[in-house]
């Protein structure tokens, strides 16, 4: 009843071309932001912030990155984990070399390195399509993983081959390292994710985003309409890898605190792909929903047997979790290929016409 667009007339194309043309949607965004920026830091427990919100936001950003490639441009990639790694290692090297530069600037600029690497491995996409691309992105994944192990310069010749986050301050507040408070880290991650989501949304709704979708929907027609596949595909690879790189850098600097190569292995590529598929291909909201779902599901699954007093061991829960995720992937692909995002849209649609069925 309250979610109605009736009576909201657009008097300019500018208003109609806005990203959220409906008033209530704009209000909802403001509400979510208030919850995220004010309520959660104020009420959330440390565990909730560090183990749920921070990873959720970071994975959402990575999912947005992958969604740009898979959902918007139609190029499948299994190299997400490695691209995240490039961002993380780049950031680590930069802060070792320039310890005085603000770490947040370095986090953002580490995306440039992953974007460059992403473009190199995106080059084959000009000649090959579909799951042939899976192999080239797997090549990126395994080759980069090997580099993270075999190039000791990348981890400053650390004995155990791990990168350990040094303590850094920004504006006089400790933001990285074990002494940084969860709330500080959360707020920085949140600010970066919100800003980058806004930018992603702008790009997608503009000329460049349209050229990606043209390539996705009908690459030949797009080419005949003057879209150069080289530009469109490589820009998608670059932007996508940029997002993944920043997500990877944040993962190490604001969440894990230390990382080995296994934090960027192929399983992460799968995990992020699942978030995109379950959340909804070609949807930013879906990226958040998918990340929330995949990340929070196991936590809830673990809590259920406890709450109802069943004694199921941790391993069994983990196995069941795998089965459920696998099953859900198939379920969503069969029943709702547009993922949670579509369910979300349907719910909004129902709300719009409530109390009438349609």
């Amino acid at each position: 009843m309250f979610y109605r667009e009736a009576g909201q007339y657009k008097t300019s194309y500018k208003a109609d071309q806005a990203i959220f043309p409906i008033f209530q949607d704009r209000m909802a965004i403001v509400f979510y932001l208030l919850v995220a920026f004010v309520a959660i830091p104020y009420f959330g427990s440390d565990f909730f912030i560090t183990s749920m919100m921070i990873p959720f936001l970071i994975f959402s950003l990575a999912a947005i990155g992958l969604n740009i490639l898979v959902g918007y441009t139609g190029q499948i990639s299994l190299g997400t984990g490695a691209f995240m790694g490039v961002g993380a290692y780049a950031c680590y090297k930069m802060t070792s070399i320039f310890p005085d530069v603000n770490i947040i600037i370095l986090i953002i600029s580490s995306g440039i390195f992953s974007a460059a690497v992403g473009m190199i491995f995106g080059l084959p996409s000009l000649r090959i399509k579909g799951f042939y691309l899976v192999v080239t992105t797997l090549a990126a994944q395994f080759f980069l993983e090997w580099c993270f192990i075999r190039v000791p310069w990348l981890y400053n010749y650390n004995d155990s081959g791990a990168i350990e986050v040094p303590q850094r301050e920004a504006l006089g507040v400790i933001v990285t390292g074990a002494s940084a408070t969860p709330t500080t880290r959360y707020l920085i991650v949140l600010a970066i994710v919100v800003a980058m989501t806004w930018v992603a949304s702008n790009i997608i709704h503009g000329r460049i985003g349209r050229s990606w979708m043209m390539i996705r929907d009908m690459d030949i027609a797009a080419e005949l309409m003057g879209i150069r596949p080289l530009y469109a595909k490589l820009s998608a690879f670059a932007v996508s890898s940029f997002y993944c790189g920043v997500a990877g850098a944040m993962m190490v600097f604001f969440w894990l605190g230390a990382a080995e190569v296994e934090s960027f292995d192929v399983n992460h590529s799968f995990l992020i792909l699942f978030m995109v598929v379950i959340g909804g291909l070609g949807s930013l909201v879906g990226s958040f929903l998918g990340a929330a779902f995949i990340w929070i599901l196991p936590v809830i699954l673990r809590a259920i047997p406890d709450t109802i007093g069943l004694d199921i061991n941790a391993a069994t829960v983990e196995h069941i979790n795998f089965m459920i995720i696998g099953g859900l992937i198939i379920f969503f692909l069969i029943v709702e290929p547009h993922g949670l995002a579509r369910l979300w849209a349907l719910a909004k649609q129902k709300l719009r016409v409530w109390p009438f069925p349609y």
Binding site: F31, I40, P99, F142, E164, P166, Q167, A178, G257, I300
Partner: protein
């Protein structure tokens, strides 16, 4: 829906926060066990986790816990994955956790910097960051009874005792992750001082089960001895491949994570002669293990699939880990005079317990392991290792305890500790 999700999870989190408060009450020793019963390394993770929780359950059943307070072991599945490990840590630390046993070098690396902040000690028994042995630099990190570096020096001493090491070529095959790479600096250092050459063969996690080219390289390099830092499925594959190229297995020495029954049982007769290091007893011929069988396994309170798995190498390793934790809890109770202790008290316990030969006998574990004496500056105990050999169906102890080269290792550990703390301005140290 999104909103509901967020609010729902927020509610769950708040509730569990409330639970945490009540859970940290005075009636238990809460010890999280970051186990891995899934994933590629589950073969090693399962017996370790079983040994750990079975011993604690035995103490509960036989003695009513430690100092009259029951022990609660909560397992959290990590799958040997650092991210899940951190998540487990975050989800359990608020419940009054006394000590963390990460069971993985990768997870240890994540937890070492968090330990002083949350004031919960980390005990990585025979794995993890070797440098945490330096108590002055790492007040909250422990790796009793000994470190990888000590172990390597003991193994090299053994080789030296078998016909000299000078001028020999030592092959080092290792799992290509933090764990496997950890001993390399020492190996290189000792190569110059002891006068041997090295050849290194990294095995990536993905190649664990197809090592034929690594062993072709071994054949090409012709090392006189082989040392292995392997884990999980890598071990049995390596031993099979070694046998295939007819490498003399009695010149092939695994570290203490490469010498489990689970590794050698699939190899069987082919693996006869293979040598591995160990620091915890073999078999069930110890009163304490009989108690475990009686109070836990026979009572159906254990997760072991088969009774015969009790007493195997990794089961006993996990059990020994539990022994150290239990001793430290007891020591902490003694030192603070409190029955229920905190993580900070536990740290004191970990610096004061004394697992002497007499104490081991008292515990029903005579000869199970070398004595370990805790101290403020020495967080590893500098324990010795012994070597065991596979006879085709079981392990046999073939050497006495071999003391490590403390004089060489300690300065290196100190150097590594300095390097670790160098870029951490606020790192908390202590003076002993």
């Amino acid at each position: 829906m999104f909103k509901k999700l967020i609010l729902g999870t927020a509610a769950v989190a708040m509730l569990s926060g409330a639970q945490m408060m009540s859970a940290s009450a005075e009636d238990m020793h809460y010890v999280p066990s970051l186990s891995y019963r899934t994933g590629p390394f589950a073969g090693g993770g399962i017996p370790v986790a079983n040994g750990f929780s079975d011993y604690m359950n035995m103490l509960n059943a036989r003695d009513g816990g430690i100092g009259g307070v029951k022990i609660v072991v909560e397992e959290c599945e990590t799958g040997y994955n650092s991210q899940k490990g951190v998540e487990c840590y975050e989800s359990t630390k608020g419940k009054g956790a006394l000590v963390y046993n990460p069971m993985s070098t990768g997870i240890t690396l994540q937890l070492v910097p968090k330990a002083p902040v949350d004031e919960i000690p980390v005990l990585s028994m025979g794995y993890g960051l070797s440098a945490t042995a330096i108590g002055e630099k790492f007040p909250w990190g422990f790796n009793y009874p000994t470190t990888y570096w000590n172990q390597l020096s003991s193994i090299l001493k053994y080789i030296d005792s078998k016909g000299g090491i000078k001028g020999k070529k030592i092959g080092f095959i290792y799992l290509d992750v933090g764990y496997g790479k950890e001993p390399i600096p020492l190996l290189d250092k000792l190569a110059t001082s002891m006068g041997f050459t090295t050849a290194k063969f990294p095995v990536g996690v993905k190649e664990m089960q197809s090592q034929s080219s690594h062993w072709l390289n071994v054949r090409k390099e012709r090392p006189d001895w082989m040392i292995m830092w392997g884990w999980g499925a890598m071990n049995s594959t390596a031993i099979k491949e070694a046998a295939k190229i007819k490498y003399p297995l009695d010149h092939f020495i695994g570290n203490w994570w490469s010498g489990a029954d689970a590794d050698l049982r699939p190899v069987g007769e082919v693996g006869k002669g293979y040598v591995a290091a160990n620091f915890s007893g073999i078999g069930t011929d110890f009163p304490a293990l009989q108690d475990v069988l009686k109070h836990v396994v026979d009572a159906g309170k254990s997760q072991v699939k088969d009774k015969s798995l009790v007493g195997d190498v990794l089961y006993n390793r996990g059990l020994f880990n539990a022994v150290i934790v239990a001793e430290a809890i007891a020591a902490a109770q003694k030192a603070t005079g409190k029955k229920a202790i905190t993580g900070a008290d536990m740290r004191v316990g970990l610096e004061t317990f004394d697992l002497s030969a007499a104490r081991l006998k008292e515990l029903g574990l005579e000869g199970f392991a070398a004595p370990v004496k805790a101290s403020c500056s020495d967080h590893e105990g500098a324990g010795s290792v012994f070597l065991q050999q596979w006879n085709g169906s079981a392990w046999e102890k073939i050497s006495d305890a071999i003391a490590p080269m403390n004089d060489v290792v300690r300065p290196l550990l100190e150097e590594a500790a300095d390097k670790y703390t160098a870029d951490k301005p606020d790192w908390k140290t202590q003076s002993c």
